[in-house]
Symmetry: C2
Subunit: 257 residues, 2 copies
Amino acid sequence: MTAPHTNVQKISEMASRHLSSLSVDCVVFGFHKNEMKVLLLKIPYKDEWALPGGFILRDESAENAASRILKERTGLDGVFLRQFHVFSDPGRVKPRDHRDNLTRMNIPENDIKWLCSRFVTIGFYALVDYTRAVPTPDEFTTRSEWRDLTDPGMLMMDHRVIVNTALDTLRLQLNNLPIGYNLLREKFTMPELQKLYETILGRKLDRRNFQRKILSYRILLRLDERKTGVAHKAPVLYRFDYDGYHRALEEGLKGGF
Amino acid sequence: MTAPHTNVQKISEMASRHLSSLSVDCVVFGFHKNEMKVLLLKIPYKDEWALPGGFILRDESAENAASRILKERTGLDGVFLRQFHVFSDPGRVKPRDHRDNLTRMNIPENDIKWLCSRFVTIGFYALVDYTRAVPTPDEFTTRSEWRDLTDPGMLMMDHRVIVNTALDTLRLQLNNLPIGYNLLREKFTMPELQKLYETILGRKLDRRNFQRKILSYRILLRLDERKTGVAHKAPVLYRFDYDGYHRALEEGLKGGF
DNA sequence: TCAAAAGTGTTCTAACTACACCCATGG
DNA sequence: CCATGGGTGTAGTTAGAACACTTTTGA
């Protein structure tokens, strides 16, 4: 792109009035050992974690940006991904923090002034199979880790708020989302599925009623095998009936949890 | 703001890589004569309508921008307003249309180049009392009108998609939204409230079951008066019990419609 | 006086809740 | 061999769907 032939002052006015620095941040949910996990990046020289995110590139949609970032951070393609909220409060970034972040990204001092005007991010949440995702740090972070959702540590900027909002959205949309399909491995047991729902909802469910209800949706295929190497009675394995699942989700799981 | 002392080429790169033109568009719902209405602005010299919207100003949040615009277009303050989706598909605006719009807004030719890179909008929906809102055109449109939701006419760009997405969201969130509280006048009859729900849902509800259900939520106060000047038996007037309503909404209207 | 709309009650059914019992397994 | 977790069944309660009758009013 060639520079427009206009004076710098004019551009400055336009940029400050009409342009925003626009990014996406991904809340990547996983499920492991009966715990909900979030994928976070460690900020070097600080006891803080950040959500994987980045700028939306020219000529790509926000959805595209989010799935590109996800692929980079987890190695996964075709992940379940959905936008849930825009965070645009001018106070969401302390100018000091913002400057630090941009400096870390090797953005020249002069350009930082441009980006400091407003910093809007679109929140996405993703549901991924914990066992298949490989946490991968980016060039600005030291490492990438699955952290406990309940106790992820100190989060940068308003990222804690973003995570909480994502979780609230997840709960609200629970009955219209392919939760199990994306968060569990292909084969899973009934108690595992129940634990998943309990963890997301934050409350206990009755074992027998849960089983009856979830089976009534006709979204599960009971397999002719049982989980091996477990204590006590070996539970039966299930997998999702893809067609049935998506048919049911369009209506929403009636009654719901 | 003073211009940063850097060369034009550099700014151009930064802007095109990291900055977006960011706006809000409001889908303003009203309810009148058993019809859902949307507030639209007429584009001059074209047989097209547009959603009221505008750029987010420096140092204001998207929410702020939306409620500011709403105040300008309807004269209403403290309106129920909620963001529902970001539209960022690079193909959502035909470059030709975009250029026309910006030219109409008296934005100089040179600056238009900046804004053409990407054009992202945050969709908000609003629920307002039809009888109190006064449609007010902005400086770029000839008039402002309540249009039928089912047949609003030709809409500019992807605004039809935005309206449809807003309606889908409204239906999904119906049981967690103060629908009646915001769309009806202070006093209303049970049939009016039912018609509202039926219109949003797009299907008939049983008169008697609706009444029993809505009353069981304990969100209505039955008044000691009836609607006057109507044919047939005069229906009783109700108004909302504000406290009860908001208590009930936190849980969601259980069961729902 | 009658058609059309509003107010109220009843019945039937399906879904949810809360349990009790038996089975399989590893320590 | 027994504690623990998994599979299945049942009774009581509640919420939802379908439906009938009476009341009020303007035309």
